[in-house]
């Protein structure tokens, strides 16, 4: 235990003193959040990128729901033909129709190019309406014990996206494991530990604990920072948030260990990790919504682990609906994969000779 704590403490110290890692884990996610935040939705007080939408006046329920969405300027119209004509002329960016079962969105394509948020309007309305269907009005309350508060936060594209920024910090765990299992071996740092009497698991778990703590703290810091920068208040379920972040960190560490096992050269593992991270960020709906993408790419996004990490985080901060089962299932899978890989590769970490 003494060895485990000692290694965790010194790993923690070396981690936060490393300027590059500090930048990658803490500063870069915030920079990306600011850039994408301004592209996909401006924060309150900085001028909203307003989208003009028309709704037929007999869709009263829908009007109440859409009014809750930030950045929409709603025109209520009597007839469908009038709505369609205004959209075609460009006086309205889009029109929303609802027949009680299905949404139909009429979009002016010139506005579609200029206002990216319009691309995700359908999803945003669907999110907002599902809350309404659950019996939720402006001040949402928990309706059943097993459901998570899904919508105390105001439904906005930006609010929906920002929790995903934490995924960037979490994903940096991939590289901490490539450093531990790859670079430490290549640079013969492990050899110095191997001549001491330490248990390999105490060493590995100590290193992992050091990385884990710093990533957890970084993720929480990023969450608070984006709330302050964008003046957004998330309604956080702390139990679910901590579970989601913790299991996600371990899952990403497992991915890092897997890459190091797959590629003998740590630089290759690092490059593949970078490529994978970019793909995951692009296709997992972290910095821009998946609605941007065609259906087959959305499906591809859904096989990537970061998609589930981002979703679990959004559920935990109350901007997306979801059940505890989703969070528990994701956590169990991530932690199990982590335990299996650490058991396999951790045992031999201090072996200088390959079997």
């Amino acid at each position: 235990m003494k060895v485990f704590l000692s290694i965790a403490l010194y790993r923690f110290k070396s981690f936060y003193r490393d300027t590059f890692t500090f930048f990658f884990t803490l500063v870069l996610p915030i920079i990306f959040a600011v850039i994408f935040g301004f592209i996909f939705g401006r924060p309150e007080g900085m001028g909203q990128s307003t989208i003009k939408v028309g709704i037929l006046k007999d869709n009263e329920d829908l009007i109440k729901v859409v009014e809750r969405i930030e950045g929409l300027n709603i025109s209520i119209l009597s007839h469908f033909d009038e709505l369609k004509s205004l959209v075609l002329k460009g006086s309205l960016d889009g029109g929303i129709l609802f027949d009680g079962k299905t949404f139909n969105l009429i979009i002016n394509f010139s506005s579609f190019q200029q206002k990216p948020f319009l691309r995700t309007l359908g999803d945003t309305i669907a999110n907002a309406y599902s809350l309404k269907e659950a019996g939720v009005e402006e001040g949402f309350i928990r309706v059943e014990e097993e459901f998570i508060d899904p919508g105390k936060a105001r439904v906005s594209n930006l609010g929906y996206m920002l929790p995903g920024v934490m995924s960037f910090s979490i994903a940096s765990s991939i590289f901490s494991m490539i450093a531990l299992f790859g670079y430490y071996r290549k640079r013969k740092i492990l050899k110095r530990f191997a001549v001491s009497p330490i248990n390999p698991f105490s060493f590995v778990l100590g290193m992992i604990m050091g990385n884990f703590l710093i990533t957890l703290l970084s993720s929480l810091f990023v969450l608070f920072a984006v709330q302050i920068i964008f003046n957004i208040k998330f309604y956080i379920n702390w139990e679910y948030l901590l579970l989601s972040i913790s299991s996600s960190i371990l899952g990403m560490m497992a991915l890092g260990i897997f890459l190091t096992a797959l590629f003998k050269e740590p630089q290759t593992a690092n490059n593949v990790g970078n490529l994978l991270l970019n793909i995951m960020i692009f296709f997992s709906g972290i910095y821009f919504p998946l609605s941007f993408l065609p259906n087959y790419l959305r499906t591809f996004g859904q096989i990537l682990p970061l998609y589930y990490v981002a979703k679990a985080l959004r559920i935990s901060v109350g901007v997306e609906e979801g059940t505890p089962n989703f969070i528990f299932s994701m956590s169990i899978i991530m932690v199990s994969v982590f335990i299996i890989l650490v058991s396999i590769f951790g045992r031999d970490i201090l072996q200088v000779e390959e079997k």
Binding site: V3, S6, S14, P197
Partner: protein, 310 residues
């Protein structure tokens, strides 16, 4: 457990990598409290031999007896009692010297106080410096400090002075002599013959995975005969070399460096023969040195090569 004369006994130690016999039937015994040196060129098998006894590598064959106990491979129990300074010590960056020592100290059940180690290795003023900011000599002193954290009976130091300037090398030698005074047994590898000569109580000369000769430095030097060695630079010329042979000069010639080494008990007669023959062959002789024979000459006599030729 302390009732043994030899702290390490190695018998028929073998290690092969593919077709290469890195360690090929090595035998030696290390006396308690002595400085034992494995001397040889790069690739001779010194580091592999040492790393087997340190527990880093598994031997293909042979027996190891350490602290009076026969072991198949070095385990946790033995590692508690030994200190190791690797050929190349790489440490976790962004930690200070003191933090690094404290971390490694925490791995052992017993040991020295970190401040005492800092004082001994003369790095007290660098205690708060990051390890990556140390000079070569300071890093090497820290590596020795790390080997001392558990106050070991037996120290393994793999080429502790390689790449250091003469002053830094000398300061490491002083440290090692102090450790010997404290009663520690030191196992040293080196390819510097002057280091082995200065420090070692017992030298094993290794080449191609085998121990080709062992003994005290004095005995090894005496074994090659000759009171003096004459060294001269002279270009390669077969008639010159043949003529020297005819005159009974006992020499070796290194064509790569154009250097002739002659062992002799009669310096004046031999130098006269060399200079006269060179003049007859119209050759210029430069950089003449007359010196005592050393371990380099022992290695040259045994292998026909110089220690640092490769």
């Amino acid at each position: 457990m302390n009732n043994y004369k030899f702290i390490v006994e190695v018998e028929d130690l073998r290690k092969t990598y593919g077709n290469v016999k890195a360690v090929d039937g090595v035998n030696f015994k290390i006396k308690k409290g002595s400085i034992f040196t494995l001397l040889g060129p790069n690739g001779a098998g010194k580091t592999t031999t040492l790393e087997i006894i340190e527990g880093l590598r598994i031997p293909d064959g042979g027996n190891i007896k350490i602290f009076g106990k026969e072991v198949k491979r070095i385990g946790k129990e033995e590692k508690e009692l030994i200190g190791v300074s690797l050929q190349e010590t790489q440490l976790i960056s962004h930690l200070t010297v003191k933090e690094t020592l404290s971390m490694f100290r925490s791995f052992y059940k017993k040991g020295l106080k970190v401040d005492d180690i800092l004082e001994f290795i003369n790095l007290k003023d660098k205690a708060k410096s990051p390890v990556d900011k140390l000079s070569g000599g300071q890093k090497q002193r820290l590596a020795i400090g790390l080997a001392l954290v558990n106050d070991p009976e037996l120290l393994f130091l793999d080429e502790p002075t390689t790449g250091l300037d003469p002053q830094a090398r000398r300061s490491i030698w002083d440290l090692l002599l102090q450790l010997k005074k404290q009663g520690k047994t030191i196992v040293l590898t080196t390819h510097y013959m002057e280091e082995a000569e200065f420090l070692a109580d017992w030298v094993c000369i290794m080449d191609y995975g085998k121990i080709i000769r062992e003994g005290t430095p004095e005995d090894l030097i005496k074994s090659i005969g000759g009171e003096s060695v004459i060294e001269v630079d002279v270009e390669e010329n077969h008639s010159f070399l043949d003529r020297l042979k005819e005159l009974g000069v006992n020499y070796t010639y290194n064509p790569k460096h154009g250097r002739l080494l002659a062992k002799t008990d009669n310096v004046l007669e031999t130098i006269d023969s060399i200079l006269k023959t060179a003049r007859e062959c119209s050759l210029k002789v430069r950089n003449e040195i007359i010196r005592q024979p050393n371990l380099e000459d022992v290695f040259l006599t045994l292998t026909g090569r110089q220690l640092r030729e490769e």
